[in-house]
Amino acid sequence: MQHKPSADQADQHRDPHSDETLREALLELERLRQNEARALRENKAVLDALAAMTRSASPGAAVPELLASTCASLDANAAVILRRQPGAGHCVVEHATAPELCGKGSTELAALMAKPRRIADVAQTGWFAAWPAYGMFRGLIVAPIEIGGRREAALLCLAHKPSVFGPNCLKLLGRIADLTGTALEKLELSKRQTLLAAVIEGSSASIAIADAQDPQARLIYVNPAFEALTGYSRDEVLDQNCRFLATDPADAPERQRLRSAVAARQRGLFLLRNRRKDGTPFWNQLNLDAVPTEGVAAQYLVATQLDATEGIEASESLQRMNDRIASIAVVSDTWFWECNADLRWTFLSEASELMLGAPRHALLGQCLSDIVLGLDEAAQADRARLESLMTARAPIESFTFHPPAAAQRDKVIQLNGAPFFTVDGSFAGYRGVAANVTEISRAKEEAEVANRAKSDFLATISHELRTPLTAILGNVELLTPMLATEAERHLMSEIAVAGRGLEGVLGDVIDLARLDNGRVALQPASFLPADIISRITALYSSIINEKGLELETEIRGATATPRLGDAERIVQVLHHLVGNAVKFTPSGRLWLRLDATRPDQLQIQVGDTGIGIAADQLARVFDKFVQIDARSERAFGGAGLGLTICRQLVALMGGEIILRSELRQGTTVTVTFPIAELAQEEPAPLPPPKAPMPGARPLQGMRILVADDTASIRKMLSVMLTRFGGVCTIVPDGSAALAAWREQAFDFGLFDINMPGLDGVELVRTIRSEEACGNHLRLPAIAVTANAMPHQRDLYREAGFDACVAKPFTSERLLDALWPLTPGADGHRHSHSA
């Protein structure tokens, strides 16, 4: 309607006044026309946008279509949708007409999103300076988009030229932004629906949905987990009520409760016994909920179901276990306990009340160590030990204590417990048992008393038997050279053999008693394995030759490499084994084999072609006092303790002993010791057998002071030493010995230990003390005693003795002890311990 006037048109004359009215009307009409045209354009643009949304195949495709339509309507070069990012004041370009325009926005653009804005020239602002994809744009308009009632987004149109968007463009953009908000809401809803569908379909929980408006509450949807749980396919169950799963009768309480909830369209949690399609039963934990929609309080009934069978069965099993333990706890004298990570009682079974003398409820929550132990010094030490164990989270094994209650103080309770932890490894407390071990404790004490009595008895017997035995064997030794006839010497040798036998039996009994009491301590030292073999063969060579037996020895491996072990005990074991082999082999051969091929063990085999052992007797050979063949034992002597001692000694050394035998064929015993090689140290070799003293009177002219309270021993020693050339001063006790020593100088002192009054130990201490004052030369002192245990020898050495000779002894053994103490080539006296 509007156009540039031509000259002719403008020349037309009109009445000014009427023209004014006409012009007014025309202007008004023109304004209306312009408004209408603008409205039409806007409406067309909006319709185009709406059409773009509507024709799109999906909500996801609608937004790009809408943006393209917007660009066309506004003559823009690009359109984008900004989305506000929570918290950071940033925005992100979520949708754009060109993909390179998508991505992170800026704080400046985020600030623009709140109101409609028309930027004439964005180059003035510098906002796109660091944003190459947007650098080409100059003109920009933005209109906020409301999503869910909040201005979460904005619609932007961009133009390459500045100042191209007028106010009407901004107004139109605002209308399109409203549509865009709807499109975005639909898109988000679509995404949520897709997500929800995927979650439900993929859920491991079985989900079934019924139409709550349907009186029958028939199923309209089940997810794959429902199919997996029940075995029924979707097609089989849709349009059915869930009662096909039920196994319980209709009037079962839980079914009734479920029916009521469904009828009332209420939520609830139910545990139902259901059956799968294949007939297998299962426990169905069903969670029912009523889901409303707009205007309808309960549109759908949604049931999530879990197979609770495992849990139920585990719970029942646990309950049975608890019942079992509770029943046992009720009838048992042993009581069960548990404490938490703070070491405070959380559980005590009934039996605890009787033992602790307090009701359980009074004890729960109290500290274990406070309750259990009393206040005296011993209790405090026990408490510290118990607390130390618990702090270290160590097991409590056989911890005994006296209950603090006065009425229970005479009782003894034994506590056992083990720490337990949570699944993440955190300490959670202790659990255990406790028992009244008062009787056992008493019995143990009595046994210990008896044991001590036995040991004392053995020590006393040992001393009382060894002393006269010393006299017997010593005098036999002295008498034998004096006898005139061979027959007389033979009879004397019979006495000597019997005496040696008695000495052997006594030694075995005492060894066994010490092993039983655990009073044998190993003394490991470096040794050469070959030396052991040499020593044993030397010890038995003469008797083997006398019997006409053949002895084979075999040594394999690095026998020159030292080992670390108690060589004396090994010799003791082999002594018994070789002794038995010799004893029980009337004729034939023996062998002694050492295998040192392994660096971590020694194996020694002793075998014979002797009388062997019957198969039914093999199991008893290691028992005490067992004599397989009483006639042989009587023939060769012995108390039947040798193998018992071997087994205990081998066990003490951590080894193994295996005996194989066949009646009338022979016996083989294999002993294995876990004794390892030593790396570099040169071992101290076993002391070789002593060479005999030079000359028949090796003590010629030496003055010897002898003190012993047994007359027969004094007599024997006097004869023995005199025969060796010594000049003896014999006294009956320690006081007399001290007086004699003070009066004159002696070359040796031979003192018994157990003497009345001043005993041997105090005698030597006194002598050494006076020697230290410088008034006397040092007297070499030898203890001659039946009490010659290693700890006793240490005591004697510490007191000042130079050597110890155990009773009974031979003259040779006595000289072995004396000789090193005689003045040697250097003229000095030196000490030597046997």
């Binding site: 509007q2 004359h13 500045p162």
Partner: protein
């Protein structure tokens, strides 16, 4: 948004500032000032800046005075009119720049700076309000449109004095100018409406410009423009010997020239050109540009038409913005100074009718030597003897 007006007659600048401070409670966001040329621009600016240091000030000289709801003050004593705006959700920025060597470029830069001063860097305002000293308004419009685009309404009026002697000026908070312009970028929170009108109709005669240079109309249909105009007006406008220059500003008020701007239903609508001086060389100096080829018509109007025209223009502006009287916050009104000089005693009635049309909402009217606004053709134009109104809604 809210506004408040103040009209001060015969008062010194300090008193005016004090009265304004009293009337305008709180800190206004923007104040438009129209003052008669007899005032010391510097003193007035300083006094107002002291009273309103945080407010954007937009001031320009107005012919003989100004008008508000309190009437029109156009007497010899001088008057200062003020209209203050408070708008917490809106933004206002004002910048004064001298013309320099390139008024168009200066105007562009002023528009950019005004948007930045409003805190809206780079953004096209809802409306530009401009006060330039007369001479190059067309270039100024072109320069502003370079930034804000042709779709943004550009309204305002050229600074005026009392006798066309060049004692016009304009100022912002920072300074004043006698050869420059003041541009305000307005981003009100509420809706705006605007209208740009003239109260004249073609009287019959027309001719084609055959020679012209800027604002000098030299020849029409090959004849000297003075002579043609004199013929058209029957010798009633151009008084004096033809070889002597004569001011015809007042006498040509009811017989201006018009250039067709647009046709509506084959009826032309004109942009008016006010002859200011008949030159001795036979040219006529106008208050707007002409170019050879323009078809010029003799236009006719009268006081009665103009009296009602201002109120009508305000009403049209309200209709254009869809703003009801109840929702009005205030209005800016521009009335041609030349028209005002011809109707001087009747301006009170004009003010009253405008006040009635606005329902009592505050307004300020300035009397300018050139008017800028948006015609029915949808273009920003500079014209003479025009009336414009920009109305603001509260929300």
């Amino acid at each position: 948004m809210r506004t408040e007006q103040l009209l001060c007659r015969d008062l010194d600048t300090r008193t005016i500032a004090a009265r304004a401070l009293e009337r305008f409670s709180g800190t206004p966001d923007w104040i438009w000032v129209q003052f008669s040329a007899g005032y010391d621009t510097y003193a007035l600016r300083r006094a107002l800046v002291e009273a309103f240091p945080e407010t954007a000030l937009h001031g320009a000289s107005s012919c003989l005075g100004s008008m508000t709801n309190d009437g029109a003050s156009v007497g010899p004593g001088g008057a200062v009119g003020l209209l203050a705006f408070w708008d917490t959700e809106g933004d206002f920025g004002t910048v004064m720049v001298p013309f320099g060597e390139d008024p168009k470029q200066s105007a562009r830069e002023a528009a950019i700076a005004a948007a930045e001063a409003a805190g809206r860097q780079g953004e096209a305002p809802d409306i530009i309000w401009v006060s330039a000293v007369p001479g190059c308004e067309e270039s100024i419009i072109a320069g502003i449109e370079d930034f804000v685009g042709s779709e943004t309404p550009i309204y305002g009026g050229s600074a005026a004095d009392d006798d066309v002697s060049g004692h016009w000026s304009a100022f912002d908070s920072a300074g004043e100018t006698r050869a420059g312009l003041v541009v305000s970028a307005l981003f009100p929170s509420g809706t705006i409406g605007h209208a740009f009108q003239s109260g004249y109709a073609p009287a019959g005669p027309s001719a084609t410009v055959t020679a012209a240079a800027g604002r000098r109309l030299e020849a029409l249909d090959g004849r000297p423009a003075r002579a043609v105009f004199d013929d058209w007006t029957g010798g009633q406008v151009v008084i004096g010997p033809p070889d002597t220059a004569a001011s015809i500003l007042a006498s040509s008020t009811w017989s201006p020239l018009g250039r067709p701007d647009t046709m509506v239903a084959d009826i032309p609508f004109f942009l008016l050109l006010h002859p200011a001086q008949a030159e001795a060389d036979g040219a006529i100096t106008l208050f707007a540009d002409v170019a050879p080829g323009d078809r010029l018509h003799l236009m006719a109007g009268g006081p009665d038409g103009l009296t009602a025209r201002a109120a009508r223009t305000v009403t049209l502006a309200m209709e254009a913005g869809g703003i009801s009287r109840n929702d009005l916050a205030g209005a800016l009104v521009i009335f041609c100074g030349g028209s005002m000089l011809a109707m001087q005693s009747g301006m009170s009635e004009v003010a009253r009718q405008v006040d009635t049309a606005l329902g009592g909402s505050p307004f300020l009217g300035g009397f300018t030597f050139g008017e800028q606004g948006r015609t029915i053709s949808g273009q920003n134009c500079h014209g003479n003897l025009m009336i414009s109104a920009v109305v603001f809604a509260r929300s």
